[in-house]
């Protein structure tokens, strides 16, 4: 051997791994540390791209678990509108490591949740998930009670899951100057009132992001030492920036820091892995083909390719190990005795139909035409 590059596999060389290939044939982008099987309970949280993960896992028969599914009998439309089933918990989007740290602190430690609520036209919005309740809650008490449900779901989810998938979204956020509590969105946008005296913009730097993620890991592992964490970075650019930078450079700044934090954690922690969905969507090798014309929204084809890569790379790394069969989830209590999830009741069985006919015949006989 004359030098170390001589014996490297072809995926370490740009020409053979990227330039000479069709973008969709680029393979082996992920060298997973951890095997994820259909038996493992998986929870997802983070920015909006995380919801695609959940759907793809469910579609492939993986054990993604919704720890806050809402009351029984919700239609898909209601689940969507009320943000049930989007993530494993009804937190809405968690964009920053600090927001995740806050949720976990409230869920897993005695730290009380802030009393602050945003009132608008007699309705009440949760500053930490203002979008989950269309039109807002009826009262502050209802809001707080609902939030307690979410915190309980987080507690249970972290204890029972084996894999926590978190999509890192942003470094920019808004917080209360005095309490340093961070909001999900800038006050005054979805709800609330912006007060320049009280609210301040923060663009977290690398050290702060890393410190928050380390705290997150510590909190998680305190309740579940076996929990594995799979990080991704959202490829969705910032809608707007409050920094003094162009939104494009602000996006690159934000995503680069998050990506660097992910790598640092992967290098330092055996139970933390990173899946490169961000690279697949954003890298010039893919010629932007996975973005919608607004160059922001990710097309379904992009999500499909990301998830195909996920499953292929898992198989490539662990293919020698036979997959464990899926574990059956205990069925949800189904109170939809007659109507099911379909608002229109299902077809009746022959016996049921006969019973129904008997009722009518008994009523209208002997003169069937006596109505």
């Amino acid at each position: 051997m004359t030098h170390p590059y001589e014996t490297l596999p072809e995926d370490r060389f740009w020409r053979s791994a990227v330039a000479d290939r069709d973008a969709l044939d680029i393979a082996g982008l992920w060298k997973p540390k951890l095997r994820i099987t259909r038996k493992d309970r998986i929870v997802t949280a983070g920015s909006c791209f995380a919801q695609h993960f959940a759907r793809a896992l469910v579609a492939r028969g993986y054990r993604w678990t919704d720890f806050e599914p809402g009351p029984s009998g919700l239609t898909p439309a209601l689940k969507h509108d009320y943000h049930y089933g989007t993530f494993s918990f009804r937190t809405g989007n968690i964009y920053t490591p600090r927001m995740l740290r806050q949720w976990l602190t409230w869920a897993l430690t005695p730290t009380p949740t802030p009393e602050e609520v945003w009132e608008q036209d007699g309705r009440f919005y949760d500053p930490f998930r203002p979008g989950v309740e269309p039109g807002g809650f009826a009262s502050a008490a209802e809001l707080q009670a609902s939030r307690l449900d979410t915190l309980a779901a987080i507690r249970r989810g972290l204890k029972e899951a084996r894999v926590f998938v978190f999509t890192l979204g942003l470094t920019e956020s808004w917080r209360d100057r005095e309490t340093r509590v961070e909001y999900a969105v800038c006050p005054g946008t979805i709800a609330g009132t912006f007060d320049a005296e009280r609210h301040e913009f923060v663009n977290h730097g690398y050290d702060a992001l890393l410190a928050d993620m380390k705290s997150v890991l510590k909190l998680m592992w305190r309740v579940n030492r076996k929990l594995n964490i799979l990080l991704t970075v959202s490829p969705v650019p910032l809608t707007a920036t409050a920094s003094d930078q162009h939104v494009l450079t602000a996006t690159v700044h934000s995503k680069s820091l998050l990506r660097a934090v992910a790598s640092t954690l992967v290098q330092g922690q055996a139970r933390v892995d990173y899946f490169p969905s961000y690279e697949i969507i954003t890298h010039p090798a893919y010629h932007g083909q996975f973005y919608a014309p607004n160059l922001r929204s990710v097309l379904p084809e992009g999500v499909d390719h990301v998830m195909k890569t996920f499953f292929q790379d898992q198989a490539a790394r662990f293919e020698a190990i036979p997959a464990a069969p899926p574990t059956a989830e205990p069925p949800d209590i189904n109170l939809q005795t007659a109507a099911g999830d379909d608002p229109d009741p299902p077809e009746m069985s022959e016996a049921e139909e006969l019973r129904c006919e008997e009722e009518i015949l008994a009523a209208f006989a002997p003169d069937v035409r006596n109505g």
Binding site: T75, L335, E347, C356
Partner: protein, 247 residues
């Protein structure tokens, strides 16, 4: 004389049989109404469509089945032929949503007022029978709707039993849900008839007194007897009698 009476139709699935039985047995006085029945088993409701101010079967077989039990042999039901229509059962189920809400009340999760309203509204409006009733109401006649009753007591899956305890301990909950349903129906021009209170037991079941004969042996916890029909008619008749005959 009949020309002066309000024209009333009782339209429904097999649940409407108990109304007819109540009439035949003299448990309800339906005098003063120019009355017709038009209905058939729930399975056939998937073969009904509302268009041109009328309910039309979408195939000949279904049309003949409905006509069989109508005095005039009607193959379809024109809303404008009636001053009032009582929709009975018609595969409109509210009990599953009510049970779900009661279960959440006792076991969680917290269901916000907004979600309670949407659950009840979406479920009810999503059902074919309800949409037929709304179509009738939008076409002129006064429309009353008596949804399918609670299951008869005795058929008690464990989670429902726990739910029933909650319902029974706080009758205000059930009253709230019926009030919401009534308001939602009113938005669609429908007068909703909540299940008569004296037929209800344990919050969300129908008393066995109102079950069809031999319901246990027949495993029929859904259909009700003439006494139940009379109870529904007792709610409906005062309203129907106020309706004037149209031109």
């Amino acid at each position: 004389m009949a020309d002066a009476l309000p024209r009333v139709c009782i339209f429904g699935d097999s649940h409407y049989a108990c109304l007819k039985q109540a009439q035949v047995r003299g448990l309800a006085d339906l005098s003063g109404l120019d009355l017709e029945y038009w209905g058939h088993v729930g399975t056939r409701f998937r073969h009904l469509a509302f268009r041109d101010k009328a309910i039309h079967p979408t195939d000949d077989f279904t049309a003949r089945r409905f006509a069989k039990f109508n005095a005039k042999g009607r193959l379809f039901l024109p809303a404008t032929d009636f001053d009032a229509i009582l929709v009975m059962g018609a595969r409109v189920y509210v009990a599953p949503t009510i049970l779900s809400l009661l279960h959440a009340q006792s076991h969680g999760p917290v269901v916000s007022a907004g979600l309670r309203h949407r659950m009840l509204a979406d479920r009810m409006r999503g059902q074919m029978g309800y949409r037929l009733a709304a179509g009738l109401a939008a076409s002129g006649p006064r429309v009353l709707l008596a949804p399918v009753s609670f299951p008869t007591e005795g058929v008690v899956p464990k989670p429902v039993l726990a739910t029933a305890k909650v319902a029974a301990s706080d009758p205000q909950l059930l009253a709230e849900y019926w009030a919401l349903l009534t308001a939602i129906a009113a938005e669609d021009g429908i007068t909703l008839l909540p299940q008569p209170a004296d037929t209800v037991t344990a919050g969300c079941f129908t008393r066995a007194d109102f079950a069809v004969a031999g319901h246990v042996a027949r495993k029929d916890y859904e259909h009700k007897n003439p006494a139940y029909g009379a109870a529904v008619l007792a709610q409906a008749l005062p309203i129907l009698r106020q309706v004037s005959r149209g031109p």
